[in-house]
C-alpha cells in the first residue's frame, strides 16, 4: 500500500461513509435513552427504514419522498414500541427485542417484490472538488447530503441536550422522572417524543444503506449494524460527540480490515467483527467502576418503567 497522503484521504472518506448509519442510529437512540427509555429495537427500525425507503424510491421514483418516507416509517414502528412501553407499561428490554424480530420479519415480507431491482444513483455534492483537492477532497467533498447531516447531528444533539430548555427537560425525565413529573412535566409525552425521534433517525440510517451506500434491497441488509449502534451509545457513555468518534472507530475497523487484507496483512476477521462489542464491554467495566466523570451523562432511570402517581 502506498502510504501517500492522498490515499489516506480516500481511506478516511470511505471510513466516514461506512460510519454514517451508525452515527444516525446511535444519535437517535441516544436521545431515546437520555429520556430514560431503552429501545433495543434499533436493528428492527433500521431494516424497516431500509425497505420503506427503497420501496418508495421504486414506486415514486423520487429520492426525497423515499428519504422522508423512511423516517416516517421509523416513526410508525417506534410508535408501536412507545405505545407498548409508555401506555401499556411493558418491559423495555423485552419489547425492544420483539420490535427487532418483528422488523426483520416484516421487512422481509414487504421486500419480496423489491429484491434484485437496481437502485437509483443518489446525487453527491461537490464531486468536482473531491478530485481536484488532494487529501481534503475525498474527506470533505463528494458525499451525499445525508452524510453531511449525519456528521452535523452529534453537534446538534449536544447543543440540544446541553443548551436548550427542551434538552434539559429530556435529561430531567431520564434522570428522575418522578421529580420531573412533580415539576409539571408530562413524562410520558416527553418519552413518546424521544422514542419517535429515535425511530425517525433509525429509519434514516436504514435508508442510507438501501438508497445510498449499497443502492438495493436485500433481506436483513442492516446485518447487525443496529446492534453496533446500540453498543455505540454505551461506548460513547451517552455523549453525542463521543458517538461520532466511536462511529468512526467502529466504521474504521471494518474498512481497515479489508485494506489490510488487500495488502496481504492478515488478522482473523472474526476477531475484528467482535471488536466493537469487546470495546463496549471494556467501557461498561470502566463505567461500573463508578468513575464520576463517565457517570455524568448516564441517564439514571434508563429502562425503568415510570408509573405516574394519580
Amino acid at each position: 500500500m502506498s502510504l501517500d497522503i492522498s490515499f489516506i484521504g480516500i481511506l478516511i472518506g470511505s471510513i466516514m461513509a461506512s460510519s454514517v448509519p451508525l452515527i444516525l442510529a446511535a444519535s437517535g437512540e441516544l436521545i431515546t435513552e437520555r429520556s430514560g427509555v431503552l429501545n433495543l429495537g434499533v436493528e428492527g427500525m433500521m431494516i424497516i427504514g431500509a425497505i420503506s425507503g427503497f420501496a418508495l424510491m421504486v414506486i415514486t421514483d423520487n429520492l426525497f419522498i423515499a428519504i422522508v418516507g423512511s423516517m416516517f416509517s421509523g416513526v410508525i414502528i417506534s410508535l408501536i414500541f412507545g405505545f407498548l412501553t409508555q401506555s401499556l407499561l411493558t418491559n423495555h428490554v423485552a419489547t425492544g427485542l420483539a420490535l427487532t424480530i418483528f422488523g426483520i420479519g416484516l421487512s422481509a415480507m414487504l421486500g419480496k417484490n423489491f429484491v434484485g431491482i437496481p437502485g437509483k444513483e443518489f446525487p453527491i455534492l461537490f464531486s468536482s472538488l473531491r478530485e481536484s483537492i488532494p487529501f481534503f477532497g475525498p474527506i470533505l467533498f463528494g458525499h451525499s447530503i445525508v452524510l453531511y447531516f449525519a456528521f452535523a447531528l452529534p453537534f446538534l444533539t449536544n447543543y440540544f441536550l446541553k443548551k436548550t430548555k427542551l434538552g434539559l427537560v429530556v435529561r430531567a425525565v431520564g434522570d428522575s422522572p418522578v421529580s420531573a413529573s412533580n415539576q409539571g412535566i408530562n413524562v410520558t409525552l416527553v418519552r413518546y417524543c424521544c422514542i419517535l425521534y429515535g425511530g425517525a433517525m433509525c429509519g434514516l440510517a436504514g435508508a442510507y444503506l438501501s438508497l445510498i451506500y449499497t443502492p438495493q434491497w436485500i433481506e436483513n441488509m442492516t446485518a447487525g449494524r443496529g446492534w453496533i449502534a446500540l453498543a455505540l451509545v454505551v461506548f460513547a457513555t451517552w455523549s453525542p460527540i463521543k458517538v461520532l468518534i466511536g462511529a468512526l472507530i467502529f466504521g474504521g475497523i471494518t474498512i481497515l480490515q479489508l485494506h489490510m487484507q488487500a495488502i496481504g496483512f492478515r488478522i482473523p476477521v472474526q476477531f475484528l467483527s467482535a471488536l466493537p462489542y469487546l470495546m463496549t464491554i471494556i467501557v461498561l467495566v470502566v463505567i461500573s467502576r463508578d468513575s464520576r466523570k463517565i457517570k455524568l451523562n448516564t441517564p439514571t432511570s434508563l429502562g425503568r418503567i415510570f408509573y405516574k402517581e394519580k
Binding site: 500500500m1 502506498s2 490515499f7 480516500i10 481511506l11 470511505s14 461506512s18 429484491v115 434484485g116 437496481p118 437502485g119 444513483e121 444503506l209 451506500y213 449499497t214 443502492p215 438495493q216 436485500i218 433481506e219 441488509m221 446485518a223 449494524r225 471494518t254 474498512i255 479489508l258 485494506h259 487484507q261 488487500a262 495488502i263 496481504g264 492478515r266 482473523p268 476477521v269 472474526q270
Partner: protein, 354 residues
C-alpha cells in the same frame, strides 16, 4: 368419548392426505442459500427449477437457508414431506445433505459443488467455473492499466481458490506484470460488506474487480468508481452496464431437467457431474464492446478452445507460491487435483486464511 373420536378422525384424514400426496405425484425440492432474487447464484438455480417445473414436474423450494444446523432441518423437512428428489445448492449443505440422505434411503439427493457421496442416494454436481475464470483472467490482463486485479473472495474452499488460480494464470499469460489482490469477506451474500471490499480494492489501485460472492454490490461499486468488473453466476449487466466486461453464467436448467426426469422414471443413478463450457453448464454473458473487436475475437477463440479441450485452464508448468512445481510442463491438472486445490499459484499475493 366423542372428543377422542374426532381426534382420531382428524388425524386419520391428515394421514390419508399426506400419504396420498406422497404416492400420487413426484415432487422435487430445492434448497437455496440466498434469496431467489439475488440475481446471482441462487437466481440461476431458481431458473433451473423453473425449467423443471416447465417440464411438467412439481417442485417446491426453500430460499435463504443458512449453511449449518438450519440447513439440515430444512432438508429433513423436505424429505419428510414427500419430496422424491432434493437439490441442495450450496457447498455448506454437504454434511447435512449426507446426514439426511442416510435416514431417507428412498429419497434422492443432489448436492451442488460438494465432493461427499457417503450414501448411494447422493449425487454431486458442479460446473467448471474455472474455465470462465480463465476467460476473465485473459480479459482482465489485457484491460488493466494499473496491473492490479482486485478479487473479492468468499470462503477459502477449493472452488474459490481454483477460480483465483485460473484467473491469475490466464492473466499472467497475457500480462506478466499482473498482481492479484484478494480480500476475503467470509460470506456468500452481504452487499454492504461486498461493496466495502470492492471499494477497498479500488482504493488500493485495482482497476478490474472480480467477485466470488453472489450479490450485485461489487459491480455497482465498480460502475460508480469507473473501473471494470465481471458479473458472477448470472448476467449482471443491467446493474452495471458500463463496467461489466462479461459475466460467468451458470446454466443448471438442462441438468436439473435431465436428473428430475431420470428420478421420476426410475433411471436415476449416483454420479459425480462436472460440466463446463463444453456442455453449456458454464456460459459467458455478452462481451462489452469497450473491450475492442480484437480482444473480443481473441476471447471468443479461447472460449471455443476451452470448450473443445484444445486449451486447458491449468496447463503446466504451474508453480505454487514457494516455487514448487504443481503441474509439470506439457501436462494438465487432473480433476482430482482441481477438486482438492488448496494452495495459491505463483504470483498470487498473501496467504490463504484458515
Amino acid at each position: 368419548m366423542y372428543k377422542n373420536f374426532f381426534k382420531y378422525l382428524i388425524s386419520a384424514i391428515f394421514l390419508l392426505g399426506f400419504s396420498v400426496n406422497s404416492n400420487a405425484d413426484f415432487k422435487v425440492g430445492f434448497v437455496y442459500v440466498g434469496p431467489t432474487g439475488d440475481h446471482g447464484w441462487t437466481f440461476q438455480h431458481h431458473e433451473g427449477r423453473n425449467a423443471v417445473e416447465a417440464a411438467g414436474i412439481k417442485t417446491t423450494f426453500v430460499e435463504s437457508v443458512p449453511e449449518g444446523a438450519d440447513a439440515e432441518r430444512v432438508i429433513r423437512q423436505l424429505a419428510q414431506s414427500g419430496h422424491d428428489l432434493i437439490f441442495t445448492t450450496s457447498f455448506g449443505y454437504m454434511d447435512p445433505t449426507n446426514k439426511v440422505a442416510k435416514d431417507f434411503p428412498n429419497v434422492k439427493f443432489e448436492h451442488a459443488t460438494g465432493y461427499k457421496r457417503e450414501h448411494s442416494n447422493v449425487s454431486t454436481y458442479s460446473a467448471r467455473f474455472y474455465e470462465g475464470r480463465t476467460l476473465l483472467g485473459h480479459i482482465a490482463g489485457k484491460m488493466t492499466k494499473t496491473n492490479t486485479i482486485g478479487y473479492i473472495a468468499s470462503f477459502p474452499i477449493p472452488e474459490v481458490i481454483r477460480g483465483i488460480n485460473a484467473m491469475t494464470l490466464a492473466a499472467q499469460k497475457v500480462n506478466p506484470n499482473i498482481k492479484t489482490k484478494i480480500v476475503w469477506v467470509f460470506t456468500w451474500y452481504d452487499p454492504g460488506k461486498e461493496a466495502e471490499a470492492a471499494q477497498a480494492l479500488i482504493d488500493q489501485g485495482a482497476d478490474v474487480i472480480m467477485q466470488h460472492t453472489d450479490s450485485t454490490a461489487p459491480v455497482q461499486t465498480a460502475e460508480k468508481a469507473g473501473v471494470w468488473s465481471f458479473g458472477q453466476a448470472s448476467d449482471m449487466q443491467r446493474f452495471a452496464p458500463k463496467s461489466i466486461l462479461t459475466s460467468i453464467i451458470d446454466d443448471w436448467a438442462p441438468y436439473y431437467v435431465e436428473r428430475a426426469i431420470a428420478a421420476r422414471d426410475g433411471t436415476w443413478n449416483q454420479q459425480d457431474t462436472w460440466h463446463g463450457l463444453k456442455e453449456g453448464m458454464v456460459a459467458m454473458g455478452p462481451y462489452n464492446s469497450a473491450m475492442g473487436a480484437d480482444l473480443v475475437k481473441e476471447v471468443e477463440q479461447l472460449q471455443k478452445d476451452l470448450a473443445s479441450g484444445k486449451v486447458h485452464s491449468f496447463t503446466g508448468p504451474i508453480y505454487d507460491q514457494k516455487g514448487n512445481i504443481l503441474v509439470a510442463e506439457g501436462k494438465v491438472a487432473d480433476d482430482g487435483m482441481l477438486a482438492g486445490m488448496s494452495v495459491y499459484v505463483k504470483g498470487v499475493e498473501g496467504d490463504i486464511p484458515k
